[in-house]
Symmetry: C2
Subunit: 353 residues, 2 copies
Amino acid sequence: MKSEKTYNLVIAGFGGMGSYHGQLVEQAERIAVHGAYDPIEYRMDLARSRGYRTYDSFEAVLEDQEVDIVLIATPNDVHKELAVQALQAGKHVVCEKPVTVSSAELSEIVRAAEEAERVFTVHQNRRWDEDFLIVKDLVEKKKVGEVFHLESRVQGANGIPGDWRQLKAYGGGMLLDWGVHLLDQLLLLTNSRIESVHADLSYILGTEVDDGFTATIKFKDGLTAVIEVGTTNFIKLPRWYVKGTEGTAVIRDWDLSGEIVTRNREVEHVEPKPIQAGKGLTKTMAPPSEESTVRRPIEHVEDLSEGFYANLVSTLEGASKQAVPNNEVHRVLTLIEAIFESAENRSVIVREI
Amino acid sequence: MKSEKTYNLVIAGFGGMGSYHGQLVEQAERIAVHGAYDPIEYRMDLARSRGYRTYDSFEAVLEDQEVDIVLIATPNDVHKELAVQALQAGKHVVCEKPVTVSSAELSEIVRAAEEAERVFTVHQNRRWDEDFLIVKDLVEKKKVGEVFHLESRVQGANGIPGDWRQLKAYGGGMLLDWGVHLLDQLLLLTNSRIESVHADLSYILGTEVDDGFTATIKFKDGLTAVIEVGTTNFIKLPRWYVKGTEGTAVIRDWDLSGEIVTRNREVEHVEPKPIQAGKGLTKTMAPPSEESTVRRPIEHVEDLSEGFYANLVSTLEGASKQAVPNNEVHRVLTLIEAIFESAENRSVIVREI
């Protein structure tokens, strides 16, 4: 007979993300929100208004024998301490990203998980975003030929969220925020190791943490990538821009608008006509003739993978592997460290990652 | 009484650009195409069909006492030799860009011009492109506030033109082609010196010269710029992307389509609503609310400056300064050298330019 145990999860840190996890868990099967803990009193009121039991301290959560899983959605600086405590108390742990602000801290947590024989996993949830899955599909299916360059950007005009995310000691800044997602996605698009990293951080808003960054990442197989996060952009550049040997693909925004333009191999190549460009003519920068290219809309892809919490339940029962393996999370942190180092030292980091 | 002398110009190198200069000169006053020289015979036939006198050798051009000006539109590698010869023969010289492939060679030419007391000037003609003049105007008039970041790109899908521009020995490659224009324009947008340069060259087409490049240039006053040329792009990113403290401006193409979006200072700031972005919500990357921004089309600007050849005539008569001063041309070449160095050594060049 199959186990029909329902796993009890407690949310530690009941801010925006903690509350969002409550909704995710409620949508999943065989896992339930057992309660919440946050040192800020109004958040506990909010949790109670949702019908969640609340705890007086994190220790009280760990002492509760009915709790199977602790979800950590606190500011980033205390992730490690809370995770290690929870694992040592025999709980499984789900942690928000960035899991820690250094790869060494993550290694400590993973060791604690191994010793306690408990599952530790990080919620890098944008692996399931459809825009990313479309790009992954077109890279794998060579819809623009062999991809040799890609650009992944998110841009807003709203600055850094006005809480601990503006503070360095709490692991704030956009590289440790959206940066984690974009870099995690990038590393899933190729099997190649990284060869070098160059990055600039932006501090235009005058905060002590970066309000955005641009990183150029070169892989050993020749792929180059530009990853960019901006919070001072009143007009957005496309979310994805992908160049292959046969064409280019653009996804403009999360609405999945965009197009794929490829060389038309069916017709003989037609030389483009020179166009007027400012005070001169250019043939080099003329658009390819209409008949020599094929223009297609972005094709949606169906995501058949199980959701994050469904995967967690299977993992706890040994039936699945973690959807977000810890070594992949570790690699993202190592890359983030190289990005900080490049920006700080004004240098290109030539290092296998 | 004002001199009404008409200056006689001979075109040396009657390829695409030489022929184009013929048209420019024909549109100008007090300057005339006196003849053409090219070692390739069919080009001399073409020149004769236009009604131009032709010469048997470059020496014959220099010996012709009726010739006042020599226009050099040959492959880049022989610019210096021909320019110095022409100056020493007492001719004024107009040279196509890139004037030389090194800043040291340009210094040699400028010394020769000074010794011969003749005018030497370079045709960096995209200083008069309207897209550039619009950006210059919006930077100066602070239409998006203080500009702290700008991106200037030209992208095509047609590869490198299929002639000497694919060969290193002739000064080929896109950095020495469109790169010269975009860098020249950039340096006119600020009075600040450069602090550092990082660049990557692209060799995806398998040629011995670069088929495109991306350069990140930081100025001492805090301005950052991304300059990019691509010949493997089936979809174009915007020609200009300009970020200021009050907003963002985009010019999409040479048709001058685009827009300016700025903060609306008339209304109280309205927090944006979170939007669905893939598998999560984001407020940080939500577009600013409609009422809190002002959206305007790109305003055209009138170019009141004299044309290149009108300026040349005034310069020859001491009535104007050269529209393209040689020290500015020299600075562009120094910057190009730093770009090559950065890409070759995989390093950030920290150097005042």
